[in-house]
């Protein structure tokens, strides 16, 4: 297995495993007699851990030269976390599992991105992140199907044993990656020259990185609560078949991501990052406005194609733009953590904001507000985000 193939499979299995830590936790704990208050507490603990560990975890990954070992330990931490849920979901075990899982997610994502930098090199990086997004999306889909069936036919608890079991095959693709030469540079550099590390504070004041962080924060603010709001609206308009329509609303964008992500990566290399960013961002105001006026379930599902386009663009562009800006600074993972932190803030605020507006003014106004935020994000990309593609100017012999 070549390192590239190994990375494909790694993304697939990680997508697979991560599904197990999603919505199944709330259902599982409910069946174990947990109150909604305690479940909310446990999930908030996970969210808060993820928020505060994004940046430190990024710095940690920067400091460890062997990214494959970071992936190995992150996946093993997932196994422990899943087993803690499965074996005895007492509060302490669940809290520990949430913290372990949230922290490992913050080290795993950047580490995979850093391995991608090493494997692909600067010229092919867009394509590589495109493949990552494709396989992660396929993994998500397979994971959701497997675990959904497991929860339905076996038990909610079995989902977590399955999740723990699925961490084992995820270790196999690490074998071809273990021999990778990280060039002795303790960072995810795609430039093999051992550049001196910049002071991280200077990087986090970098105008392009800050602008990008604000852009993706605004995008997430407008995007994160959109699908839950669609689900909420559908339960009222469609009734009995709502779950079927909601399932289609989730699966269709996944398919779109799996199909178009590599092309999006190629487009970002050929035509530049700004164009692809604008393409992804502009789907958000359009989608919000369409949801505000359209209630026909078939059309609602079709509108979700826009969600898939946006998800593919963001999935490829977030690591790609970050590597453009910080790839050679020695602080790539720290910067990626910083962007992740910005997106986390956006997602958290999105849910509360949409809930408040939706309760007070109804669904159409809530969708329109999300569309307005999306428009602001798009305008910001248009007006302030510089083109970060540098590969054309880089000498080719670096490969």
């Amino acid at each position: 297995m070549s390192p590239g193939r190994g990375l494909d499979w790694l993304n697939l299995f990680v997508g697979n495993i991560q599904t197990g830590f999603g919505p199944f936790i709330a259902v599982y704990l409910t069946t174990r007699g947990w109150t909604q208050t305690s479940i909310g507490l446990a999930l908030s603990l996970g969210t808060i851990t993820a928020m505060i560990s994004q940046i430190p975890a990024g710095a940690l990954v920067d400091a460890i030269s062997n990214k494959t070992s970071v992936v190995l330990f992150s996946i093993l931490a997932f196994s422990i976390s899943a087993l803690l849920f499965a074996v005895q979901p007492v509060p302490l075990a669940v809290y520990v599992a949430e913290v372990i899982h949230s922290f490992s997610s913050c080290t795993l994502g950047p580490a995979i991105a850093a391995i991608s930098l090493t494997i692909a090199g600067p010229a092919m990086l867009g394509l590589r992140f495109g493949r990552n997004a494709r396989f992660a999306s396929i993994g998500n889909g397979i994971g959701a199907a497997l675990m959904g069936a497991c929860g339905y036919y076996v038990s909610e608890r079995a989902v977590f044993f399955l999740t723990a079991a699925l961490t084992l095959p995820a270790l196999v693709p690490l074998l071809p990656l273990a021999r990778l030469d990280y060039g002795g540079v303790p960072a995810g550099t795609h430039d093999n020259s051992p550049t001196r590390r910049e002071f991280p504070g200077r990087l986090l004041r970098d105008r392009a990185l800050l602008t990008f962080a604000v852009c993706v924060m605004l995008f997430t603010l407008g995007n994160a609560a959109m699908l839950p709001l669609v689900g909420n609206a559908l339960t009222k308009t469609v009734g009995g078949e709502a779950n079927l329509v909601i399932a289609a609303c989730i699966v269709l964008p996944q398919l779109v991501v799996a199909v178009i992500s590599p092309s999006i990566g190629r487009l970002a290399e050929d035509k530049g990052r700004r164009l692809v960013l604008l393409l992804g961002f502009c789907t958000l105001p359009i989608r919000g406005l369409l949801f505000a006026v359209v209630t026909d379930p078939i059309l609602v599902v079709l509108i979700q194609v826009l969600d898939g386009i946006a998800a593919a663009c963001l999935g490829v562009l977030v690591p790609l733009v970050t590597s453009d800006i910080a790839g050679r600074s020695g602080h790539f993972n720290l910067s990626l953590g910083f962007i992740g932190f910005a997106m986390g803030i956006g997602a958290t605020l999105s849910t509360s904001l949409t809930g408040w507006v939706g309760d007070r003014y109804g669904h159409p106004i809530a969708f329109a507000s999300l569309a307005a935020i999306g428009l602001a994000a798009t305008m910001l990309v248009w007006g302030a985000m510089p083109e970060t593609r540098t590969t054309r100017r880089l000498p080719a012999q670096k490969r």
Binding site: A26, V27, G33, T35, S38, Q88, P91, L227, P228, N243
Partner: protein
């Protein structure tokens, strides 16, 4: 068969909730609005009501001397209801019991049921009158039967614990079930 003896099943249900309220202060939170973490509830696992065990063993507030008026809570006749599966008259899964609303007299007035959604999206809670539920504890995988049609469930307003006005789906107009047990 489990739901055949309806009045008996109902009486058992009340007993089950009473026991639940004793060992789980968190259940009444929705009604009182108190902010307290119901940690006691969390340790119950598969057997929410300890078989035959006196409630004092799980109630931290109980002092050292065991109360003299102990009564058995037979596991085949009573159990907790939080997290139990709810099925419709057609036997299909509807959702999970996530909360119990009690009135000032201490009797349960409504159950809050979470209708799952897909992967957590589109999940929706509604409150239904306690008298619409039928219970048959004793079997390892017993479920709560909700005697309500799909149309009525879909038409029900979403239950929000913090909302200013909260509504529950009451019993059907034409044939209200006997309320004798509440007296």
């Amino acid at each position: 068969m489990g739901f055949a003896s309806r009045t008996r099943g109902y009486a058992l249900g009340v007993g089950a909730t009473a026991s639940l309220l004793m060992i789980a202060p968190g259940v009444s939170l929705a009604a009182t609005g108190a902010r307290e973490t119901p940690t006691v509830l969390l340790t119950q696992g598969d057997t929410p009501t300890p078989a035959g065990a006196p409630p004092s063993s799980t109630t931290p507030k109980a002092g050292p001397p065991a109360p003299k008026n102990l009564e058995p809570l037979a596991p085949d006749e009573s159990t907790g209801v939080l997290g139990k599966k709810v099925v419709g008259p057609d036997g299909k899964d509807l959702g999970l019991v996530v909360d119990v609303i009690v009135a000032t007299d201490g009797h349960p007035s409504a159950a809050v049921i979470d209708f799952g959604g897909f992967l957590g999206v589109g999940s929706r809670k509604i409150a239904v009158d306690w008298r619409l539920l039928r219970f048959a504890p004793g079997r390892p995988d017993w479920q709560v039967l909700l005697t309500l049609g799909r149309a009525e469930i879909q038409a029900a307003p979403e239950y929000k614990p913090d909302a200013a006005t909260r509504e529950m789906v009451g019993p059907p107009w034409e044939a209200p079930p006997s309320t004798a047990v509440h007296e």
